[in-house]
């Protein structure tokens, strides 16, 4: 499980750096995180195992993500949701082959955006790995859920 946490964190770090020019910060955890409104992007996937990746960011972070991707000073709400979805898609596409191997084929669904989101608990035998990363601009939380992947979890 710890290896998946590291893979998830590395994939997220790379995605935020390369897509959004946003970098990890060594700062402590956001002490005001309970005061924020959080928006989540959910990517469901199927393949050798199925599951979903949830990327949660507080609303104030969305404009930075989208604006940096677009190279503009501001962004619309639609662009912000689109940008968060694209980042989550890239993270999911990056982490799956690292867990299952590059020969395996996964189908990723289009990201779904959920406003005012709360962390989700695993259900129906799902295994969950969660990590949070602190960017210079704020905190991002990731939850990775796997079904039917118990054997893989033992290997990684």
């Amino acid at each position: 499980m710890e290896k998946i946490e590291n893979l998830l964190l590395n994939a997220a770090t790379n995605a935020f750096e390369q897509l959004c020019f946003m970098f990890s910060s060594p700062d402590d955890e956001d002490t005001e995180k309970n005061l924020h409104t959080w928006v989540a992007s959910i990517v469901n996937f199927s393949g050798p195992f199925s599951g979903k990746l949830i990327v949660r960011a507080h609303k104030g972070l969305l404009n930075v993500i989208a604006s940096n991707m677009l190279g503009e000073d501001t962004s619309t709400t639609k662009q912000q949701m689109d940008a968060l979805g694209e980042v989550s898609n890239v993270i999911c596409g990056s982490v799956l082959p690292q867990i299952a191997g590059v020969a395996e084929v996964f189908n990723l669904e289009a990201p779904k955006i959920l406003e005012n989101s709360e962390p989700v608990s695993p259900q129906n035998g799902e295994k969950m790995v969660s990590v949070s990363m602190t960017l210079d601009e704020g905190q991002v939380e990731l939850q990775f859920f796997m079904k039917n992947g118990a054997a893989l979890l033992k290997e990684v």
């Binding site: 790379n14 995605a15 390369q18 897509l19 989208a66 991707m69 677009l70 190279g71 639609k78 662009q79 689109d82 940008a83 979805g85 694209e86 898609n89 890239v90 999911c92 596409g93 990056s94 799956l96 082959p97 590059v102 020969a103 395996e104 084929v105 996964f106 990723l108 669904e109 289009a110």
Partner: protein
């Protein structure tokens, strides 16, 4: 000058690809956009397109289906296509390459895109054109 068609369901990603493409220093004419494979086919059927940059996972018509249709049409079959996708499965990437399609993994840098385009069209650009 290249006429470019960018096919991606994410408007932000299309904008980012355009921005990156402009940073490549490759001379271009018209840049056209489509949000799925069906729209992409409609553009290529009506306008002159020199190069297609396309995603795979899209609603309505995905990138694979669009590529198959383009390659079955004698008038568009030779149009170079670069798939820009999060796809990481070597099985799928090899299948794309077997269709003569080039592949760039998201996230990508201007250098990678420039190198891929340069390899396809066989011309070295100096970045100042």
């Amino acid at each position: 000058m290249l006429n470019i068609l960018i096919v991606d369901d994410s408007a932000v990603m299309r904008a980012m690809i355009i921005k990156t493409f402009k940073l490549c220093g490759i001379p271009f004419g018209e840049i056209m956009e489509a949000s799925n494979g069906k729209e992409g086919i409609e553009v290529i059927d009506t306008k002159w397109v020199d190069l297609i940059l396309a995603d795979i996972n899209m609603p309505v018509m995905n990138g694979i289906e669009m590529i198959d249709k383009i390659q079955k049409n004698p008038q568009t079959a030779d149009t170079p296509i670069i798939v820009i996708s999060t796809e990481s499965s070597q099985t799928r990437i090899e299948a794309l390459k077997n269709k003569g399609v080039h592949f760039v993994k998201k996230p990508f840098t201007p250098e990678i895109l420039r190198e891929t385009i340069t390899n396809i069209i066989g011309i070295k650009f100096n970045g100042k054109d």
